[in-house]
């Protein structure tokens, strides 16, 4: 048996090539028009069945190539194929910088040609549960006021919102704190603007988005459910370029320019004036705005060294004067925002050894105060990290990924009020390392075992090994099978606070780390060129989930201040502990490109929690559970669609009408209703009797199904060197009254009380107009 195994490995690892003279081809792939590196481009030979795909830095390597003459092809969706005849000598290592020419001039739209490679092969290269969505697809989705990354993701299967009022995402039954958000490698902890209505990610500044809904490799960790990694634009290295957008509620601009021959810089800025606009229609509303800005510089030092420096800052600011005519009127102030910075050094040690090193800083800060109530609150988080990631190609069919991360995390929460002081200050260190192998025993197989080690240093230290395994198999020319499993750990807990910034705490002596195990199986079918069907089924098992207690009654102060006020410094008693599981199946039928593109998705899912001392420790469904969800998204170039229907070919128009549609239907969310009411008073001496509610068992009922249709229409006119695109977007065009929760009201007349029940609804019909400019 052992002999057979060794022989099998010997043969499949192509060890014979160790004894032969071979060469390699490596390099980067760029967009010829702006010099941006392209991740996911395919590089292969016409004559022999070997190839590679560029990584997130646009780098590729094909090793162990026998000497000879070849035709190298590089293809990427939306670009013309690159072909070059190459002669490779013994031990020769060729380095290339491939420039791909955009296939169409109007790259502003998603109406581009498809890749020359088979759709099934492109699907095969994608990791399981990973979704590709381009910034352009996000911009084309009808939006509430602003194009928003997280809201756009909510139209994909397995990713859900909790309500229209929040951009937070719940991935495959996981809560919003189980998502890892990375922007140019730096962690972002509270990515929220406008009380959670929008995320902090400006879609104009984004170059690439990677979303993994589960089963992710050893490269990522620290969260239980998903990874959202965003890479911002490096900047146009060929010419000055700008985009702008203005609407009733906000304006934004993105500029990119080359820095001589060796780099580029991009900058974007966005600011809302929703408060000023609202004041035209309403009196006595708070002063409110948010802004965010991003600047990134990219330096192409030489073929083996690239450097990028990225900085982001965003802030929300709210001020309210309760009585503008009174000199001693109470003032409410609340501001919050993120600042991130990252320095990335990309270094190619040798063609087979590619690496990235990051130094990142991420900070979140919020300040709240009300003068009359003497309440002040400060909620800060500071993360400083150094991490490295390497890719080493051992053989043509065996490579390895490895890396490390050293993180120093400080969370501070301070609240000072007449009732006491809360002072939660935590300093933590988090060290991780990982190693995974990528093995292709045959071109039809992809196997990636991996292992991640976590060391979380708190008052109580945590050390965990997190194994991962992923496998992909090309069953036929058009069908792929995929599977993945892994153990995931999380050492952070979030204290959710609707509409205001959440507070992060960490695992410690009171709270064990959270754990999840993922099991995922996927099926992919190429229906036709550029049309695919993906089916994935998953099961997730959670241990030690923490949810904020409904009441804070059993806190014990650690000390008292000179005024006798209690000082609370411990988190004990803050959370309920529980376990749970999520399972489901998702269908995604998608056409990514063409004059009509979009997707139809359906997911069937169930999440259950069992929480200590809640619901008599019987399972219940959390509020974010949805049994059935249907998403339909369509983008259409109207003129070319009509031509297509008439049997005519695609034609470039200087002026085009673009139509967008987003439909969502989901089962109603679980809710706890009122079982009865009773009449009582709160303080014994106060003659103030009222009706109070007594709830049913937790989340024992379902609200009516949620349904919504959004539409957008854009008129895009291309001038010689610039584009003007006015648009109208209508959110919830049917003005459907989707219920968020139930309101109970009482009316008292002549000693009798009548109780009425009403619904609090999600967003009504919301139109937005604006104009986009590109120059």
């Amino acid at each position: 048996m052992t002999k057979r195994l060794i022989l099998f490995l010997f043969l499949t690892l192509n060890i014979n090539i160790l004894f032969a003279q071979t060469g390699s081809i490596s390099g980067f792939v760029f967009d010829q028009s702006n010099g941006e590196s392209l991740s996911g481009a395919n590089i292969y030979f016409e004559n022999i069945p070997v190839g590679s795909v560029t990584n997130t830095s646009g780098y590729f390597v094909i090793s162990d190539i026998p000497p000879g003459a070849y035709t190298l092809i590089c293809s990427y969706i939306g670009y013309k194929d690159f072909k070059d005849d190459i002669t490779l000598n013994d031990d020769e290592s060729i380095k290339l910088a491939i420039q791909l020419e955009p296939a169409l001039l109007e790259t502003e739209t998603v109406v581009v040609t498809a890749d020359s490679e088979r759709t099934a092969l492109l699907l095969f290269r994608k990791d399981i549960s990973k979704i590709n969505i381009s910034p352009m697809e996000i911009k084309n989705l009808p939006a509430v006021v602003e194009s928003d990354l997280l809201r756009a993701l909510q139209s994909l299967p397995g990713i859900l919102p909790i309500s229209d009022y929040s951009s937070e995402i719940y991935v495959r039954g996981g809560t919003s704190d189980q998502n890892l958000y990375l922007i140019d490698g730096a962690d972002v902890y509270n990515p929220e603007h406008a009380f959670g209505l929008f995320s902090t990610f400006n879609t104009d500044a984004i170059k690439d988005i990677e979303v993994s809904k589960g089963g992710f490799s050893a490269e990522y960790g620290g969260r239980l459910s998903s990874v959202l990694s965003i890479t911002n634009l490096d900047g146009n290295r060929k010419s000055f370029e700008g985009t702008g957008e203005i609407s009733l509620l906000s304006a934004k601009v993105t500029l990119q320019t080359p820095i001589g021959q060796f780099g580029s810089i991009s900058a974007s800025y966005r600011r809302t004036y929703a408060g000023e606009t609202a004041k035209l229609f309403y009196d006595d509303i708070p002063d409110y705005y948010f802004y965010d800005g991003h600047i990134k510089a990219f330096f192409d030092i030489n073929a083996d060294n690239k450097l990028s420096l990225s900085f982001f800052n965003g802030k929300d600011d709210l001020n309210y004067n309760f009585n503008s005519t009174a000199p001693d009127a109470p003032l409410l102030h609340y501001d919050w925002g993120n600042t991130t910075g990252s320095l990335r050094w990309t270094h190619v040690f040798n063609p087979n050894f590619f690496s990235n090193f990051w130094f990142t800083v991420s900070s979140f800060a919020s300040n709240f105060s009300i003068t009359e109530a003497d309440v002040e609150e400060q909620n800060d988080l500071f993360d400083i990290s150094f991490k490295g990631q390497g890719e080493y190609t051992l053989f043509q069919n065996l490579s390895t990924k490895f890396g490390f991360e050293l993180k120093n995390l400080e969370t501070t929460y301070q609240q000072d009020s007449p009732r006491g002081i809360i002072d939660l200050n935590r300093q933590r260190r988090f060290y991780t390392g990982y190693l995974s192998f990528i093995w292709n025993p045959t071109p039809d197989w992809y196997i990636e075992p991996g292992l991640r080690y976590n060391y979380f240093a708190a008052e109580k230290d945590f050390q965990d090994w997190a194994p991962r395994l992923a496998a992909k198999y090309r069953l036929t020319e058009t069908i792929n099978l995929k599977a993945s499993t892994g153990i995931y750990y999380q050492y952070l807990n979030k204290i959710p606070r609707p509409f205001i910034a959440d507070i992060w705490t960490t695992s410690d002596v009171n709270y064990n780390r959270s754990q999840a195990t993922h099991y995922i199986f996927g099926f992919q079918k190429e229906i036709a060129n550029n049309i695919s069907l993906e089916i994935e089924t998953y099961y997730k098992d959670y241990k030690n989930l923490y949810s904020l207690k409904n009441y804070f009654l059993d806190f014990e102060p650690s000390a008292y201040d000179s005024r006798g006020r209690p000082i609370y410094t411990e988190t004990k008693g803050l959370f309920d502990r529980g376990d749970g599981n999520s399972m489901g199946v998702e269908f995604l039928f998608r056409k990514r490109y063409g004059t009509i593109n979009g997707w139809l998705a359906y997911s069937l899912a169930r999440t259950e929690y069992i929480v200590d001392q809640i619901n008599q420790e019987n399972p219940f469904e959390p509020r974010h559970d949805r049994t059935h969800v249907i998403n339909a998204v369509m983008n259409m170039d109207i003129r070319n669609s009509l031509r297509f229907l008439k049997g005519e070919g695609y034609k470039y128009d200087r002026a085009k009408w673009l139509f967008g549609m987003n439909f969502v239907y989901s089962s109603g969310q679980p809710i706890t209703l009122t079982s009865s009411t009773y009449y009582s008073n709160s303080a014994p001496d106060q003659d103030f009797y009222q009706l109070f509610l007594y709830p049913t068992a937790i989340n024992n009922f379902r609200l009516p199904a949620y349904s919504r249709l959004d539409l957008s229409l854009t008129y895009e006119h291309h001038y010689d060197s610039w584009i003007l695109a006015p648009y109208i977007q209508i959110f919830n065009i049917g003005n459907r009254e989707n219920v968020w929760f139930i309101q109970y009201e009482n009316e008292e007349t002549e000693g009798k009380i009548v109780q009425t029940v009403d619904t609090f609804n999600m967003f009504p019909l919301l139109p937005t107009i604006g104009v986009r400019i590109k120059f």
């Binding site: 009174a326 009654l553 009773y678 014994p684 103030f688 509610l693 009316e747 000693g751």
Partner: protein, 304 residues
């Protein structure tokens, strides 16, 4: 061409129609379970009175306040230490149960159980709850309190607001301290229109608000500074909405009172969902059977 166009129109119309309209939520009898509602407290060295035993109602019921008391219930109080049972009787004037004989004196630090049997909607229900009276000790320290006559938002020589405050010594074994602030002459004429919030009580009443929400206020705190000295509870000026006399009642409450007070009014999250209050009642009962040691003080707010 036509086939595609018709299909598109059909699908679009279907999606549009399915995303129109109003949804409704029906809360019917399925959610209802009858319960005995208890609202009563014991105070040391005081007679047992005003133990209100009522019933709950399905949502949407029109409730006649004078008909909710369960006057036919069997209500007994047991001294846990002696196991002596005292039968409470219904007083139709107060719509509550009381013990009128003189052989029962509620004592500091002792535990008492309330047992109730009643019939609601043809169901025989039973509920019981036990309270442990806090120890002796609560006493308002008048020397260090700021009370009596005060001008509204009165300031000292330096211009700093003088805030009414209640200094007190604690009772051992109490779960919390609640200061009940009641304006005794609250109406639209005594309302403080010069408040810094610019709030007008007439606007509130027009919008179906209740004057009692301004008339009755509270502050509460957990036991503090247990090592000695006195504790202070300040009454912020935004809790004062009327000129005239105020009654300040300070309670050193037991755990039943503490949990009831802080949970029964807060069962709805900001996202609208509900969660259970914490009641220390066994069987088919909801509400509170608690105990407290009390002391009182007065305050009088004057117009400048």
């Amino acid at each position: 061409m036509k086939k595609f166009a018709y299909s598109f129109i059909l699908i679009f119309t279907t999606l549009l129609l399915s995303s129109c309209g109003k949804t409704s939520v029906t809360i019917d009898e399925r959610t209802y379970e009858p319960n005995i509602v208890i609202n009563g407290y014991l105070y040391p060295e005081k007679p047992v009175s005003n133990i209100q035993i009522t019933r709950n109602f399905p949502i949407g019921t029109t409730i006649d306040k004078n008909q909710i008391a369960l006057s036919e219930a069997s209500v007994n109080l047991t001294d846990i230490e002696t196991n002596i049972v005292y039968e409470l009787t219904y007083n139709p004037n107060t719509f509550a149960y009381e013990y009128i004989k003189e052989d029962l004196e509620i004592d500091y630090g002792k535990s008492y159980r309330l047992d109730i049997s009643a019939n609601i909607d043809n169901s025989d229900l039973q509920a019981s709850s036990t309270t442990t009276v806090p120890e002796k000790g609560l006493e308002i320290d008048r020397e260090n309190s700021i009370f009596g006559d005060l001008f509204y938002r009165e300031t000292d020589e330096t211009g700093k607001l003088i805030t009414p405050q209640v200094a007190y010594k604690q009772s051992e074994n109490s779960a919390f301290y609640l200061l009940s602030i009641s304006a005794l002459n609250a109406d639209i004429h005594t309302f403080i229109y010069e408040n810094p919030f610019g709030l007008d009580i007439n606007d509130v009443l027009e919008e179906d608000g209740k004057i009692e929400n301004f008339q009755y206020r509270v502050r509460w705190t957990r036991p503090e500074n247990q090592n000695g000295g006195f504790s202070i509870m300040e009454i912020s000026w935004f809790q004062i909405w009327f000129y005239g006399p105020y009654r300040l009642v300070l309670y050193a409450g037991d755990e039943n009172f503490y949990h009831f007070y802080n949970t029964h009014r807060n069962v709805q999250n900001i996202d609208g969902n509900l969660h259970e209050p914490i009641f220390h009642i066994d069987g088919d009962g909801i509400g509170v059977f608690g105990s407290a040691v009390i002391d009182t003080l007065s305050l009088n707010i004057l117009k400048k």
